[in-house]
Amino acid sequence: MSIMSVRDVVKEFGGLTAVNHVSLEVPEHAIVSVIGPNGAGKTTLFNMLTGLYKPTSGKIVFDGTDVSHARPDLITGMGVSRTFQNIRLFSAMTATENVMIGRHARMKAGLVGAILRPPGVRHEERDVEERARELLRYVGLRNDALDKLASELSYGDQRRVEIARALASDPKLLLLDEPTAGMNPQESAALTDFMRKLRDDLNLTILLIEHDMKVVMGVSEQITVLDHGEKIAEGDPAAVRSDQAVIEAYLGKQDNDGNGGVA
């Protein structure tokens, strides 16, 4: 049974077709990767799944509900959460506050509650802060980093805070946009293990955009390959690795003298 299903989705920006009739099924509890060269439309697809863009045509169904034209905050409320390719933390807030923002959709306090601060609201605040700290420790932040400003954290820690922030909303589906970008091989390997742990600990489904083939091949159960906005291949890692269209997309068409394009 698939938790997210993308059906024949098209996204056009003016004359440019960024995503062209792409369909994709994300099975529940799976780790699925979307790969493809730069400009293939991967992040555009993510932006549609999270409601930042509306598809020009086609349908996106999450957990049995059509979310093609739903507002991003409502989609988050339904259980989709994401990280960003270029880290988008709230730099003037602490790590803990960033994660508390991630919990926003699950909190209840409104305007009156904020002003009068009855016991319920006070408890909620305390619980959410406690939970945020727990999540930050869970993703591997050291205690002394919890109250640092996001902009003061190291790159790796910022990535961790982003994941914790995404987890704070208790998602069913977690979208990770190039989580290993800028990481060294050891860090990438650690993150690969962590993704599996995440999935099992929190009973998540993970959809991943990734360039690091070692990570992709190591962690994915299913891979979808996009190129120029179109889906060119789909399958398990072994099948995708040997797919002719994929090799051409990444390495260019092989000439007679064996001189390929650029990797």
């Binding site: 933390l89 923002i101 305007l111 904020a114 802060e129 400003l149 954290l153 190291s154 922030r165």
Partner: protein, 393 residues
């Protein structure tokens, strides 16, 4: 919340016990201050106006400081608040005969309702107006929001001037334009009676009460789920909505709350000025309040408070009452009030050069208006300060 806690924690460690006693002493002093000066002293008058501006600044700080929505039409809410007094606290609507707990004699023509009820009307009207100005700016950012809100402020000002031509039935008009609505009621409270312009002390305590109330609401909001959502939207709109923050509702709440504070202050100033005149609602008012929160430190509640006091005292006390004859002492033939805009401009430039983050900056909060340079400077300082003891993170 946790920022406040961290901040409080740090203060407690640094200035520890003194802090609370300083705050307590300041409050006590604020309450007994009018007893130390004459009933109608210039200084008391200036302080009352300054406190009304504090309320304005705290309201604008919610919109500009917290939520990062550069609102240049704040004067509109002053106008709405003041007109609520004109409409519901005078004989202006001469066809009506309403009198609820007001200072007007019973049977007087017009609508005369109690100060608190006028304030509630103003809160309702200004919140709606705030939402109306918010709606067209939802898809806009910084400078463009400024342009739209600026136009809104100007429209309201123009409507106020031309309200004499807007009939609302029975020969009554919407406003009295530049002639002004005068013979306003005075604030009237059961047991206390009506205020008088010969004794300014009750006015002072009334506006002080409003300041305490608005300050309390502001502090609570800042450290709440809503306050965090505003800062998140200000910092990164895309990330904020992706984290489940409803963009429209959160932004409109900022506009509405900021506007409501402006409306309350407008009501007070309307009563205090004893006239509501369309020429009061100038663009320069919006800039004046904006300057207060920038000088104080954008996004900082205490900064807004201090900025409003500082600029108000300079404008309403130091220049006209204390140093006005200074040029004449040097044999120059003009009053200092003629230079007040120049003095203001000079002071603003000095503050922006020496302390672009404001006098009492919200610690760690980045400046939207002073630009990236200040933010980068602040970061450099932070990084530099951190690398010394901490080592690698």
């Amino acid at each position: 919340m946790s920022e406040l806690r961290a901040q409080l924690h740090e203060w407690q460690q640094k200035i520890s016990r003194y802090n609370r006693s300083i705050a307590g002493a300041a409050m006590v002093f604020a309450i007994i201050m009018p007893l130390l000066v004459g009933q109608a002293a210039d200084f008391l008058n200036a302080t009352i106006v300054a406190l009304a501006y504090v309320v304005m600044a705290l309201g604008l700080n919610v919109v500009v400081g917290f939520a990062g929505l550069l609102d240049l039409g704040y004067v509109a809410f002053y106008a709405f608040g003041a007109y609520c007094v004109g409409w519901f606290g005078s004989g202006f609507f001469f066809k009506a005969h309403v009198n609820i707990l007001s200072s007007a004699p019973s049977g007087a023509i017009g609508i005369h309702i109690n100060f608190v009820m006028v304030a509630i009307c103003a809160v309702v009207i200004t919140s709606i107006a705030g939402v109306l100005i918010g709606l067209p700016t939802l898809r806009l950012r910084s400078d463009y929001i400024a342009i739209v809100t600026l136009a809104f402020g100007e429209i309201i000002g123009t409507v106020a001037v031309n309200g004499t031509s807007i009939g609302i039935g029975g020969g009554q008009t919407l406003t009295a334009g530049n002639l002004g609505i005068s013979a306003l009621d005075l604030p009237h409270f059961p047991l206390i009676g009506s205020f008088s312009l010969l004794n300014l002390r009750p006015w002072y305590w009334l506006v002080l009460l409003i300041v305490f109330f608005v300050l309390f609401v502001n502090l609570r909001l800042r450290d709440s789920r809503l306050g965090r959502a505003w800062v998140a939207l200000r910092e990164d709109e895309v990330a904020a909505v992706s984290m489940g923050i409803p963009l429209v509702k959160t932004k409109l709440l900022a506009y509405a709350i900021g506007a409501a504070f402006g409306g309350i202050s407008g009501v007070f100033l309307g009563f205090y000025d004893t006239t509501v005149n369309a020429s009061q609602f100038q663009f320069s008012f919006s800039i004046f309040v904006l300057a207060m929160i920038i000088v104080g430190g954008l996004g900082s509640i205490w900064g807004a408070l201090m900025g409003a006091l500082l600029l108000s005292y300079i404008n309403y006390y130091l220049i006209p009452d204390v140093f006005n004859t200074l040029p004449q002492m040097f044999g120059l033939n003009f009053d200092l009030t003629q230079l007040s805009f120049g003095i203001f401009g000079f002071l603003l430039v000095i503050v922006m050069i020496l302390r672009p983050q404001g006098l009492f900056p919200e610690r760690r909060r980045r400046m939207e208006l002073t630009g990236e340079i200040a933010a980068e400077d602040a970061q450099l300082v932070e990084v530099g300060g951190q690398s010394a003891p901490g080592g690698s993170a």
